[in-house]
């Protein structure tokens, strides 16, 4: 399939699914992290200016730690999310979709330098674009990938219509289409929904608002409302 779906089978025989995150959100998340890091370094610089040369030493030490271990710390301690990744809803996981461990996180961040070469993350971006799961070089070596953290889905409100029994001989995929129309009644505009319902006019024999209401009623029935 030509999409970003990533799935693995667990020992329980279940397919876990995730959406791999592409270069653009990852670059933006990285920019946010760079911003935070510079902010910290700036604040430290001002605070340590009074400590003269010893302060300079501590500042250099901190800039080293921030450069190499800032992502490692957040990825392991904060569930795979640096502040930048959190802002864009991204999460680093192992390629079996388990939480990333110290070793893997260290490796992918040490190899960040190779991804940076020859300038501005050119190698990493190229590798991400060419890779099916958008892995940069560090990700490939460490066996990690960056996926979207899915938001908790709440049970949607069903449209308030009296359920109607569907006509006989409704195929499974037709049923699914009707159900998802009913479920998504809050997400799509009324006009678009009427347009979609209008496509079925030859079958239902009802047009416009009545057609839409009829399909919603059937959808509710199929979901089990009586």
């Amino acid at each position: 399939m030509l999409d970003t779906a990533y799935s693995i089978e667990t020992p329980e025989g279940i397919d876990l699914k995730a959406q791999a995150a592409g270069p653009v959100p990852r670059i933006l998340a990285y920019a946010v992290d760079v911003f935070y890091r510079s902010l910290i370094l700036l604040a430290l610089g001002i605070a340590l200016a009074f400590a003269d040369r010893a302060g300079m030493g501590i500042w250099l030490l901190c800039s080293f730690l921030l450069e190499w271990f800032y992502p490692v710390f957040f990825e392991v301690v904060r569930n795979g999310q640096t502040p930048g990744k959190k802002a864009f809803g991204l999460i680093v996981v192992n390629d079996n979709l388990t939480p990333v461990s110290w070793g893997a996180s260290l490796l992918r961040n040490l190899l960040r330098f190779a991804d940076f070469l020859p300038f501005g993350y050119a190698a990493g971006t190229l590798s991400m674009v060419l890779n099916k799961n958008f892995q940069r070089l560090g990700d490939m070596a460490a066996g990690t990938l960056v996926v979207y953290r899915q938001a908790g889905g709440q049970r949607p409100e069903l449209p308030k219509v009296a359920p109607l029994a569907p006509p006989r001989g409704l195929q499974l995929q037709d049923q699914l289409a009707v159900i998802s129309l009913a479920e998504r009644h809050g997400e799509l505009s009324e006009a678009r929904q009427r347009e979609l319902a209008g496509l079925l006019e030859p079958v239902t024999g009802k047009s416009g608002e009545t057609g839409l209401q009829y399909l919603r009623a059937v959808g509710c029935w199929l979901l089990g409302s009586r």
């Binding site: 876990l16 300079m56 080293f64």
Partner: protein
Amino acid sequence: MKQNDFENKYGESWQQLEQWLKHGDTDLDLPAAYRSLCQQLAVAVERQYTNRLVDRLNQLVMAAHHRVYQQQTLRKNTWLWYLSAGFPRAIREQARYVWLATALFVLPALVLGLGSYWNDALIYAVMTPEQVMQFESMYDPANRVLGRERGSDSDLMMFGFYIKNNIGIAFRTFAGGILFGLGSIFFLVFNGVYLGAVFGQITRVGFVSTFYPFVIGHGAFELTAIVFAGAAGLRLGQSLIDPGRHRRLVALRLASVEAMKIMYGTFAMLVIAAFLEAFWSSSTQLGIGIKLGVGAALWLLVITYFALAGRGEANRGP
């Protein structure tokens, strides 16, 4: 069973699990809850329930899967074992790469060292005249202070500098290895050339009494660590060039496990080196004899450690 009935039947148990994952305060048998959840997801997919429900269950399964399959180290004190046996064993296991990295570092250093010792112009092929002036003045015996220009209050500053600079170099030397080993080779040769040129030049102008006592102590840790980082990088590169019977990606994954075993220890060595360089090597109070003696002892210690530590069946480790 219609979807609504299904959701009503199990909704409560899902909420319980969600609560537990979020707060972890309620009593829950996680493996049992996880197994039945998996079963429900499979049923939901099989019965073609809507995407929304399947997505929700998938998400919940994933969160629980994270907990069930969290990677935890069972053994305590692994790091103690690593320092006493694991690290030298890892170095010996990758001896081929370590020797190769040593050659890539030492041979250019020898060539440039002897070259710039015999030929006073060769150094300018590597460095600008300003750089040469600068490091010559650092080790001029007429100076009271040693190393990069410094006052006695600035040991901490130099410590910070050495940490950032030297460990950064080692990390880059390693990381460059993923580009089919080319990055590691470049950094090893480059540092070898640079170091050799400095050694040759300083020896030629005769600042021997300040330079060698300064470098010998931390050199034992720093130079070996750079070579080890290079060796780890070469290991990565080799796995891509000659993956053997694996796919390249798998070979790289396996090689990086081996390489990381080297990198943890290399990092520790570089921290030690930075300590020594900032607080010991630069000291002007200690006599040249003491510094050379301690430096030689440190070299001996490092070599003995990697040659002998952790041998024998008992140290096989986890």
